[in-house]
Symmetry: C2
Subunit: 249 residues, 2 copies
């Protein structure tokens, strides 16, 4: 349970394919008092994070305070409150061996999309959540699992992705490249110029592959985890602007 | 004379090397009433523009309204109120032949830096203008003549440049490449992904050459003249943030 002056958390029970999907849903405080529904942004956390990681909660607070937008997050395939009776996930948590982890991520690629869509279905059942266009924000692992979701889900109409490229070789990231071509909604792509995990050429190739011509790239100094706060602020403004334009248009 | 709810223009007489330097200086309205000095941003206009072109005045209004910052502009070597007794400049205005124009730009490269510095000296004589760090904003031709200024002038401590690359061959843009290496202040570099005048590789090379590691790139969809309003807003916020950090630090 997270509460601040800006947001209030609502519980949301979601099941998909026999699994429980661990969710976190934050509403702007005003939305919980008023009678109108608010827009929604889905936030996918990065590797090692979880649905209530600081960057996720910061995004939820910023989206609420600056734009009156609600935020929905779910746990990735390994972290947070995912069921631990899966032996593979359990082993991955302990050994943190990158090659195995990424192979496991690939195995969960389709089920993560299913889980996100089930969570979105459930969130839109609430009277506080609007039925209009939805945004997506997810960097690094949040891009890995966000790209297939954005490509598959017509309710998502604007996205912020980045901090991702084929650092691990084609065998596990090829599906991301295949799916990024299908994206046809406005995209803001974030890059770190001193990224120690993703090569600059890999960044460039992934950006080039994004299907829509309505894409823009922001490249900032510093390493993988050094995305500036001003850029996160700009990302929220981008999503709010694009969603509003599509509601109004 | 420009006046709005946000800015008031002050006349500023500047001479340099025997030339009159045509200037435009706008102060936030509040600064003209109060007793404190405000920060200053220099705005270099693009090709075909002049010191009171709409994008210059828009920047001045935005800097004043959003950040309480003053704006100084001067005419480029050909346009605006530059003396017309120079036969070469006069011919250039009439024939608009790109190769000749760029050769002329190269000839004016050093004197434009001198003119800018003289204008900055004069502006900082005014009690309303602070003596602290100064920003620079200039795209396209505003980058051509801005890069040597930023490299030479220690009072400039943050810059927004872009929409420029070696489209005309090395002989006239080589000095820009030589000078961009010397820039050691924070830079925001703007790129247009559908630019019909500057190639994407040229953009990439110029950005790579910027001397400081404290550089970031924003690439947006659309042609040379299609820089989004949101990006100009972000550029103003970038300059205000970097100047404030250096005053406070």
């Amino acid at each position: 349970m997270t509460a601040s002056a800006q947001i209030v958390e609502r519980s949301l029970e979601v099941r998909c394919g026999g699994r429980r999907v661990p969710t976190a849903l934050w509403l702007p405080v005003l939305a919980s008092h008023r009678r109108f529904a608010v827009p929604l942004v889905l936030v996918g956390h990065g590797g090692g994070g979880h649905k209530r990681a600081p960057i996720v909660v910061d995004m939820a607070e910023g989206l609420a305070r600056e734009h009156g937008i609600a935020t929905l997050a779910i746990d990735g395939p390994v972290n947070g409150d995912r069921d631990t009776n899966d032996a593979a996930a359990h082993a991955l948590r302990k050994q943190d061996r990158h090659a195995y982890r990424r192979k496991y991520y690939l195995e969960q690629y389709d089920s993560m999309v299913d889980d996100w869509r089930a969570a979105l279905d459930a969130a839109q059942q609430l009277p506080e959540i609007g039925k209009g266009p939805v945004g997506y924000f997810g960097l690094s692992m949040g891009t890995r699992f966000g790209v297939p979701l954005i490509a598959a889900e017509p309710r998502i109409r604007a996205a912020v992705i980045g901090l991702f490229g084929h650092r691990e070789g084609l065998e596990t990231s090829q599906r991301v490249y295949d799916d990024v071509v299908k994206i046809d909604v406005p995209v803001l792509f974030l890059q770190q110029l001193g990224d120690e995990e993703v090569g600059q050429r890999a960044y460039h190739e992934l950006f080039e592959h994004i299907g829509t011509p309505d894409k823009r790239l922001h490249a900032n100094p510093g390493g993988h985890a050094a995305v500036p706060r001003s850029e996160l602020h700009a990302a929220r403004a981008f999503l709010a602007r694009k969603l509003k334009a599509q509601r109004d248009g």
